[in-house]
Each structure stands twice: as C-alpha cells, then as structure tokens.
Amino acid sequence: MPFDVDLTLRRGGKTIAARFSGGEGITALFGPSGAGKTSVLDMVAGLVRPDAGRIVVGGEVLFDSAKGVNLPPERRRCGYVFQDLRLFPHRKVRDNLLFGWRLARPEARWLSLGDAVDFLGIAHLLDRAPASLSGGEAQRVAIGRALLSGPAFLAMDEPLSSLDHSRREEILRLVTRIRDELRLPILYVSHDPAEIDRLEATVIRLD
C-alpha cells in the first residue's frame, strides 16, 4: 500500500480534507480547480504543513501530527514534477538532471544518468540551457530530474497542462512507462477525466 494519507488543512474559510489509501500504480487526485489538489500534493511533499493528519508512503511516516513527525521536504524522497517545471535556469540540462542525484545517498540512486537519458530520449539535450528547450523537452527534463533524485514516489501536478496535443500523448505514454517499467508509485493531479482513464489510475475525488 504505497500511499496512506489522511489530512486536513484549513486555509482562510476553506477546509481541504483528503483521505485515501492508494494501491500500486497511479493514484490520481481529481477535482475542479480550487479543490486543493495541488495543496494535497504540497502537503505530501512537505511544502505545506497540514493542520492535522498522517502521511505514510511506502511504510515510511512522512508526517504524523499526533506523534509530532514532520520530515522536511529534502528527506521525503518525493520526486515532485511541478506544473511550472521549475528547471534551474543557471544550470545546463545535465546539471539540472544531476542536481538531486548528487544529493541522494548512493544506495538511494536506483537510476543512472545514462539510463534516465535513454528512457526519456533526451541525450541530445544534455548540454543545452533550460531556457532553450521546447515545452515537451522541458517536461521530460523535469521528469528526469525528479526520477534521478532517487525518489520513493513521484508527485506530478498536471504534467500535460502546458502541452499541445501530440506532446500530451508522448508524456502520457512516458507516465505509463514509469508506472510499468520503473514500478514507481505516482501521485497524479489532474482535472481531466479522459486523462485519468487512460492512466488506469485509482481516483481520489476532491471537491
């Protein structure tokens, strides 16, 4: 049971509550914009602190308000692929990819740069600056950077939102390959039912 999440966050007058246990594969957080999907992702990644609850991923307790556990983001092994990608503008693609890899403990590095680059088809981009990448290319690099940090799971926030139709198809195939070939649990935020259908995800509704 990769994900075991139960959390509440009060923000302004609104309460975001999410409670789910995810199976293998992809767990999709689904709901209209403003439902707090990204907030849930941020809480799992350790970027926002829930008011109460418990977050367990792959048996590891990341957050538990009752026991006072709150791991900082750098210790959660969450490969976060942000909606706005956030590639480091002052570093080449290669150094973006290796940023988390270099910081990971050797035993946590389950993927090498060579394998990641082959898997994503980005060998020709290594010496480029992030600013020179197309949307699809930048998306692949962002995914590669997350995978190389040796994560225990991926968190993907609407990874298709900024792409045109053919690129969407490409990235969708990539996500399913991450699920099937790398066997990495994925927490996936989307507002598109067709997309979630394609991914055969366990759906968690947020309203």
């Binding site: 970027l47 988390g100 600013a131 950077r145």
Partner: protein, 234 residues
C-alpha cells in the same frame, strides 16, 4: 595624465580604503539584505530605517557618531584599545570604517532587490530534490542573486571612493594616512595656485566613478537578463 608619485599614492590609498570598506560591509550588507528580504520579524521597519540612516543623515553627523563610538572613551573604542591595543582613530582603517558605514545602505538596497528577484519556487524545487536549506542557498539563491550582489559591491565601492564628510569628521585629513581622493581635492582647494592638481584629481575621481557605474549597470543588466531567461524557461 601625468600624475605625481604623491598623487598616485592618494589614488592607491583611496582604493585600499574602499577595498577594506567593502570587505567589511559585504557580509553585514548581505545578512541585513537577507533579513529584510526574507524574514518577517517584529521591528523590521525599525531595522530598515536604521540601515538607511547613513543615507539621509548629514555625513558629518555619522562621522561624529563614529567618533563617539570608536574614540578612546567610546563604547567600542575603549574595549578595542584595551583588548587589542588597536585603534582606528586617525588611521586609514578608520577611513575604511567610515566608508563602510556610508556604503552600507546602498549595498543593502541593491542586494535586497536581487534577493527579492530570486524565484522562490526554484528554491522549493531544490528542497524536494534533497537539498537542505543551506545547500539550497549555496546552489540556487546565491548564484541567482550573484549579479546583484556584485553590482552592490561595485556601487558600494564607488560610493566609498567618493566618501568625504564622515571620513574627514571621523579620522581627519592626514596625508598618506586618511587623505583619500576627495579629501586631497579638498586640501588642494585650500592651497592657492594648486588648480591643476585639483583638476587632475577631480578628473581621476570622475573617471573612477564612471568606470564603477558602468560596471555596476552591466552587472545589473546581466542579472535582469538571467531573470527574463528564467521566466521564459517556465
């Protein structure tokens, strides 16, 4: 330009004083800029005002306050003398201290702006990739704000090359020790018939300032260009 060796010494002393001044100020300026840009705390407005004080108070007042603080009976001067036998009074190090205080607000402003321009979302991304706060600072925040920090250094340097009021009040106008370029110009102006010396020193002073301003502008633009590139990357 045909400078005499005496005039060269003045220039070298000025550069030495400014270099020490900026070396002294930079860590404080950066720390203050960081506090003001990133941390919320009570009394922030007060600290902000305090940092900017040398910019608005008459320099002669700043010099006088330094005199009180670092004088033989001052709250800093006395323990310094007692512990290390060290005094900045009437020394070139004192001139550097005066310049440092005067350059501080300018440097804090420039560095603060460059820190505020750093995209915090990139820092958050670094954290999720396994970087602790310190690592995030050295790998992301510092390099991205570096052009602004350098611009602050150059601007502070230029400001301190031009420092006059606080310096002359604090450490007087001693040739070869505290007589920097502006003080030398002032001294030459008191001597009848030294017009050509005044003109040479003034010209030199203007030249140095222009060089520093151009360098600073270039650095700021480079930083800004980097920012724009970063935004296009998203």
């Amino acid at each position: 330009m045909g400078l005499s060796s005496e005039e060269w010494e003045i220039v070298l002393l000025s550069l030495r004083v400014s270099a020490l001044a900026i070396g002294l100020t930079l860590p404080f300026a950066f720390a203050l800029a960081w506090l003001l840009a990133r941390v919320r705390f009570p009394g922030k407005v007060l600290l902000d005002a305090l940092v900017h004080l040398p910019l608005v108070v008459p320099p002669v007042v700043t010099g006088w306050l330094l005199l009180l603080a670092f004088g033989p009976n001052g709250p800093i001067g006395r323990p310094l003398e007692a512990a290390f036998g060290f005094s900045v009074m009437f020394r070139w190090t004192g001139a550097a201290l005066a310049s440092a205080v005067m350059a501080l607000p300018l440097m804090v402003r420039v560095i603060r702006l460059s820190l505020e321009a750093v995209d915090r979302r990139l820092e958050v991304a670094a954290r999720t990739l396994g970087a602790g706060p310190w690592r995030t600072f050295t790998a992301i925040t510092l390099p991205l704000s570096l052009p602004g920090v350098l611009a602050g250094v150059v601007l502070g340097f230029a400001r301190s090359l031009g420092e006059f009021g606080a310096t002359i009040t604090f450490v007087s106008n001693i040739p070869g020790e505290t007589q920097t370029l502006p003080l030398a110009i002032y001294a030459a102006l008191q001597v009848p018939g030294a017009d050509s010396a005044v003109a040479r020193l003034a010209g030199l002073s203007v030249l140095l300032s222009i060089m520093a301003l151009v360098a600073s502008e270039w650095l700021v633009r480079r930083g800004a260009a980097g920012e724009v590139r970063a935004r296009h990357a998203l």
